[in-house]
């Protein structure tokens, strides 16, 4: 299970403020705490105006890389911004993201082909997201073919079959699960990834839905998540679910994570 810590994202009001004010201490602290909580990668997203996005994201990435030893997940909807920041990173991380929308693969795949960078790929095109699992799986096959064409091995792919919010799509999880299962079956070394908060937009007590979604999505085959790693309950559920799904020999990961204090009652 790949854990990508989501907190260094300018869409979060407190983080957006810290980015605007160049509050390094605040952001470094978030990087360190997410690493201590067990993140494997740190997502960094500037969420600022287009004119300053590349320079801001570069600043944020370099700050995160110096504050923590973790590789980064470089997050922007603009492939030009991603291309501007990647070459300056010290460690190969994850590109967040490409899709079959115009220009994304053409910009990013050549850049990463001879590196160890992983990449998140969304099953959408410039026309949007297909309603059906079949439609999204067809796009997955296009992504897979493109990766093959550029010589990018399948184990570098994290496929996001898109999670619509439950508040407008009661079948959101069902569709996601159908995709996740198929993708895992067809591409044995690829990951299926998702953010854990889209699902609950527009509903009350969002974290309750997010927690339930984590468990159900893992059962369906999701094995990477962009999540709030500072949410101890969420982390506990992740390790518990991993063990329950038979992915944790002797439950040792679960026991170890517990001993490290990543979830459960905090001492003192």
């Amino acid at each position: 299970m790949i854990i990508i810590g989501e907190k260094l994202n300018g869409f979060i009001p407190s983080v957006g403020k810290a980015i605007r004010e160049r509050d390094e201490a605040f952001l470094r602290d978030l990087a360190v705490r997410q690493e201590e909580a067990g993140a494997d990668y740190l997502d960094v997203c500037a969420a600022v105006d287009a004119e300053v996005e590349a320079e801001t994201l570069l600043w944020l990435a370099q700050l995160a890389e110096s504050a923590s030893s973790l590789p980064l997940c470089i997050d922007s909807p603009n492939p030009q911004v991603l291309a501007a920041v990647l070459p300056h990173c010290k460690r190969a991380g994850i590109v967040n993201s490409v899709s079959m929308e115009n220009g994304k693969i053409e910009t990013i795949f050549p850049l990463i082909k001879d590196t160890k960078w992983k990449v998140i790929a969304l099953t959408c095109t410039s026309a949007g997201v297909p309603e059906s699992a079949e439609g999204r799986l067809a796009i997955f096959e296009q992504i897979r073919a493109a990766a093959h064409e550029y010589g990018i091995a399948e184990d570098r792919l994290l496929i996001d079959p898109i999670v619509h919010t439950l508040s407008t799509d009661e079948q959101s999880l069902a569709t996601f699960a159908a995709c996740a299962k198929e993708i895992r079956a067809r591409a044995k070394t690829a990951h299926v990834v998702s953010g854990l908060s889209n699902i609950s937009f527009g509903l009350p007590a969002r974290s309750v839905i997010n927690h339930a979604f984590l468990v159900l999505a893992m059962q369906a085959g999701m094995n990477a998540a962009i999540m709030d790693v500072l949410d101890r309950e969420m982390v506990g559920l992740l390790h518990a679910t991993n063990a329950l799904l038979g992915e944790d020999e002797y439950c040792m990961d679960y026991i170890t994570a517990f001993r490290e204090g990543l979830f459960g009652q905090k001492k003192n």
Binding site: V48, A50, E51, S76, G128
Partner: protein
């Protein structure tokens, strides 16, 4: 509860299965169709919109109330006097080019329609040319509403508003903008006529533009 109150209550609580009979019952009892529309339906949507703004009602509830009102309006339509001002004008709405997000835009479309406008929804990823084409080909366009969720498509919003501001018919409609990264300041900067923070406020703003 009188008949109009029953219609109001059904829309407020999203009782789509019984709205048709309630509206018919109100009509049969001799209630004025415009009263049924305004006091019974438009007001109900206004109330649920306010609750949504306060965080007391949620997206699915807005959806079922809007669906209920739509059903009710279908029953009412034949009884509304021809030529009566049932429409406040046409509102054209869309998410700007480069952006696929639509939930907020859909809620705004619903609320503006419930408030009495004819809504032409251009969906998502809409370029300037499409807005212009639709404005030119429709009667009585009074509102043009633009949405975006991404900071990266704010320049696209700016360009579309700049393009719309060049139109010879610019005086005949108002431009309103919204979406998570949008502010009243940004709206002013780019030359839009107004900004609203959510769907309920958008409906209020739209109505104020044609008052």
């Amino acid at each position: 509860m009188n008949k109009i109150d029953e219609v109001f209550s059904a829309i407020e609580t999203g009782k789509a299965k019984i709205i048709a009979e309630l509206v018919q019952s109100a009509i049969d009892a001799g209630e004025d169709p415009m009263e049924i529309l305004n006091a019974g339906m438009v007001n109900a949507m206004s109330v649920i919109g306010e609750r949504f703004s306060r965080g007391e009602a949620f997206v699915p509830e807005m959806l079922i109330s809007a669906r209920t009102m739509k059903k009710g309006v279908e029953v009412l339509k034949p009884y509304l006097a021809k030529g009566a001002a049932t429409s406040l004008g046409t509102a054209v709405i869309g998410t700007v080019q480069g952006d696929m997000h639509d939930i907020g835009k859909n809620l705004v479309a619903m609320m503006i329609e419930s408030a009495g406008f004819e809504v032409v929804d251009l969906e998502v990823d809409v370029p300037l040319e499409r807005f212009v084409e639709v404005i030119r080909s429709h009667q009585n366009v009074r509102i043009v509403a633009l949405s975006t969720l991404l900071t990266t498509t704010m320049p696209a919003m700016k360009n579309i508003v700049a393009g719309l501001n060049q139109l010879e018919t610019r005086e005949s409609f108002r431009i309103m903008v919204g979406g998570a990264p949008i502010t009243a300041e940004f709206a002013k900067q780019i030359g839009a006529d107004g900004y609203s923070a959510d769907a309920a406020a958008a409906a209020v703003l739209a109505k104020s533009f044609v008052a």
